[in-house]
């Protein structure tokens, strides 16, 4: 090889033509695809009655009014910690599944995998299975090739557009937005979002495929930190399969080197080379190999989900340890506990939430106001929230061990405030201590403000303090 030129620093993408495969995991994956895509495309169309003043879309992110609606739950922007909590739970859940079952996220539910799978399905339907596709790829650009390619790309584009279209429906009333989109009167933001998502879906699912997983996605790098020898992952029983070959003299292993596992692999690798960064553990090679084993009359599972820690036992001819012993270990228990703790915390927070709320910010510039009769006044900015679908009248009151008088800006001693449906009202509240009252001179006096919806009896309170002359 002395005069062979050195290879380039850049490599062209190797085309992958995954062959059709049947089997347990393939069927399972079709179901997951149907359910996840079904949820994604249909959710925005579910209606949910919240009364006349609120949107009737079950799942809606209302950016303009800073509200998130999820069936019976409504989250305001100041409650964003719910979303943060859910994201943390999603992260921990991912850690849990990865430490227990390897890259199941990648193999089964990642949008990149699901849409690529869908696109390959279309591809196979239009252009035929692996061999036909390889031939077509190598062949000249004949009229037939153009026809097949253009048909395929058109269907991809339609799917991609539906994907981008479904996304924007989560952010506006779906039927209205659909009408606006059709009549070309939708907000530019909707059109631009659809355009971007259409292009990314089309390019990532149709052309980039495994390149996204290998070179663009950070998750394969991160997940290595969650895996250990007890993690269940897709692997080749090399001790059973080798030496591979077609020999029938008893010295050969079970692998007949038929390349079925390689031909079905969507990332185009050979699992028999051992664990590889590229493998998304889609399990299709298991199905392919099981099929071959059945045909040559060998037990299934030459390629299988297994824990690498069992290798030694299996080489020695012993049984692997049962699945639960691998899955139940300190690491997964800790992930589960953390996940559950946050989940319980969120559920608790959700249930103690009231439909009416107040937040009180004491005005501290100045700390108090001296009135002409010598009394001391404190000012509070009180925000009253009515999360209900109809207008309510809130009643404000004050509780303290000391004598304090509460008044409202513009309303005086009339302590009832009208708060429109689904709104926050800012009310300036005055609390006054007469000159002879202890609260007037003392540094600080604790007090509690109550807000009550006289109609429903809902209540909420806020503790704060009253500053007297000594606080200066």
């Amino acid at each position: 090889m002395a005069h062979e030129p050195a290879p380039s620093l850049y490599a062209a993408q190797e085309p992958v033509f995954p062959r059709k495969v049947k089997g347990f995991y393939r069927t399972f994956k079709w179901w997951i695809m149907a359910v996840t895509l079904g949820i994604y495309y249909l959710t925005p169309w579910i209606r949910w009655d919240r009364g006349p003043n609120l949107p009737d879309q079950a799942v809606l992110v209302d950016m303009a009014n800073r509200r998130f609606y999820f069936f019976w739950i409504e989250i305001w922007s100041h409650e964003f910690y719910f979303v943060a909590g859910l994201l943390i739970m999603a992260g921990l859940g991912l850690f849990l599944f990865t430490s227990a079952l390897g890259r199941v996220w990648c193999g089964y539910t990642c949008p990149q995998t699901v849409w690529t799978d869908l696109f390959i399905l279309v591809e196979r339907w239009i252009e035929g299975d692996r061999n036909a596709r390889v031939r077509l790829w190598k062949g000249k650009w004949t009229a037939r090739k153009w026809r097949l390619r253009i048909t395929k790309w058109t269907i991809w584009l339609v799917i991609a557009m539906a994907t981008g279209g479904a996304w924007v429906f989560y952010f506006a009333d779906a039927p209205t937005l659909l009408r606006d989109l059709v009549t070309l009167s939708a907000h530019p933001a909707a059109n631009i979002t659809i355009l971007i998502l259409t292009l990314t879906t089309f390019i990532f699912g149709g052309f980039m495929r495994e390149q996204v997983c290998i070179y663009m996605c950070p998750w394969p790098r991160i997940q290595a930190a969650m895996m250990d020898p007890d993690t269940i992952t897709v692997a080749y029983r090399e001790w059973r399969g080798e030496p591979r070959g077609k020999k029938r003299d008893g010295t050969a292993g079970d692998c007949i080197d038929c390349m079925a596992c390689v031909n079905v692999c969507p990332v185009g690798i050979d699992i028999r080379d051992g664990q590889q960064m590229e493998c998304i553990t889609c399990a299709l090679c298991i199905d392919a190999c099981d099929d071959v084993m059945a045909r040559i009359g060998k037990p299934r599972g030459l390629i299988d989900y297994l824990a690498l820690s069992d290798e030694e036992a299996e080489r020695a001819g012993a049984q692997p340890r049962p699945l639960w012993q691998h899955v139940l270990r300190l690491r997964t228990i800790i992930y589960t506990a953390m996940w559950a703790a946050i989940g319980l915390g969120l559920v608790y927070a959700l249930f103690i939430r009231s439909d009416i709320e107040l937040t009180v910010s004491p005005v501290r510039n100045p700390t108090f106001v001296l009135q002409s009769d010598g009394s001391i006044r404190n000012i509070y900015d009180v925000r009253l929230r009515n999360k209900l679908g109809d207008d309510r009248q809130f009643h404000l009151s004050l509780i303290s061990d000391d004598i304090l008088r509460i008044e409202l800006e513009g309303l005086g001693r009339e302590l009832a405030i009208d708060v429109p449906a689904n709104e926050t009202i800012l009310q300036r509240v005055y609390v006054t201590a007469r000159p002879q009252d202890p609260a007037a001179s003392r540094n600080s006096t604790p007090l509690r403000l109550w807000v009550e919806d006289l109609g429903s009896g809902d209540k909420a309170s806020w503790d704060t303090i009253f500053n007297g002359r000594e606080s200066q």
């Binding site: 030129p5 050195a6 850049y10 993408q13 070179y215 009135q371 010598g374 800012l426």
Partner: protein, 287 residues
């Protein structure tokens, strides 16, 4: 091009580079990465043509799209003004004395007024409107020229003791340092102290009471409760603009002190005057 070399240990090609016998493996990057990189360069060039980019001696290249951050802000402001146009019209037509009854308009006026206040008024009256020595506190219930909405609007529009608006509030206290003897001043001060405190020299205060009736009551009233018509402060309440101890009072009596306020009617739009008045009225002392 160099010849192909393969690392024996890993079976991976090397780049052919070698440093002190250490060879560099060649795991090639995908070619589309390279193209993406070139694309970003092209994008970058296009961007600097389209948008302001290259620094010049004064300013920067303008960009062919004519975009500017200032222009964006101006557009945003124009858009907001457009959205608020109805509210502004309503504010200009509103009967200000009953403004608080119109909750939406009142909220708009107070919010707008707050912005005006922080920009124009807070330098003297403080960002929290609590004033300072010589600058009235606008949160309390003590007013020099009146705390009703119309009175506040008048004070804001015409200002106090300025040279530019003939309708400005105007009053001037004589400097009693030229009129009173030291003893007379001390007596008057003692009388003033007696009005709002329990620690005072009764005989001296009684003497001061007579002096007060003869010299001060014309403006400040017989019982020293002040007179808003002439901006004469109430001297019998707990609030002192320039301080209520004997030293501060002596200085005030001898030298006479008063503040000046600009005529905002000449500087602000009518809607801003109304808005800032609504804001001040809603601070706690509005009457």
């Amino acid at each position: 091009m160099a010849d192909r070399k393969v690392d024996e240990e890993t079976g991976v090609d090397t780049t052919g580079h070698s440093w002190d016998g250490i060879q560099e493996l060649n795991n090639p990057l995908p070619r589309w990465w390279l193209w993406t990189f070139y694309l970003t360069i092209i994008w970058g060039i296009g961007y600097t043509i389209a948008y302001p980019a290259w620094p010049m001696v004064s300013g920067a290249t303008a960009g062919v799209l004519g975009w500017s951050a200032r222009g964006t802000v101006a557009n945003d402001i124009a858009e907001h003004d457009g959205q608020n146009a109805n509210l502004v019209t309503a504010l200009l037509q509103a009967d200000m004395t009953t403004l608080p009854e119109n909750a939406d308009l009142n909220r708009y006026a107070v919010a707008r007024g707050g912005a005006v206040f922080r920009a124009q008024c807070s330098q003297c009256h403080g960002s929290g409107a609590a004033g300072a020595t010589g600058y009235p506190n606008l949160l309390d219930d003590d007013w020099l020229w009146g705390g009703e909405m119309e009175q506040i609007i008048y004070s804001v529009t015409h200002g106090i003791r300025n040279e530019v608006d003939p309708d400005a509030h105007w009053s001037q206290m004589p400097a009693f340092g030229d009129i009173f003897t030291k003893e007379e001043t001390a007596a008057t001060v003692e009388y003033l102290v007696s009005l709002s405190s329990s620690e005072f020299d009764a005989t001296l205060a009684e003497e001061g009471a007579t002096l007060f009736l003869d010299n001060c009551a014309a403006c400040h009233g017989d019982n020293a409760m002040g007179d808003r018509a002439v901006g004469a402060p109430n001297l019998a309440d707990a609030i002192w603009l320039y301080g209520g101890d004997r030293e501060a009072l002596t200085y005030s009596v001898e030298n006479a002190r008063f503040g000046v306020m600009p005529a905002w009617g000449q500087r602000l739009s009518e809607e801003d005057v109304r808005a800032v008045s609504a804001y001040v009225h809603a601070l706690g002392g509005g009457e």
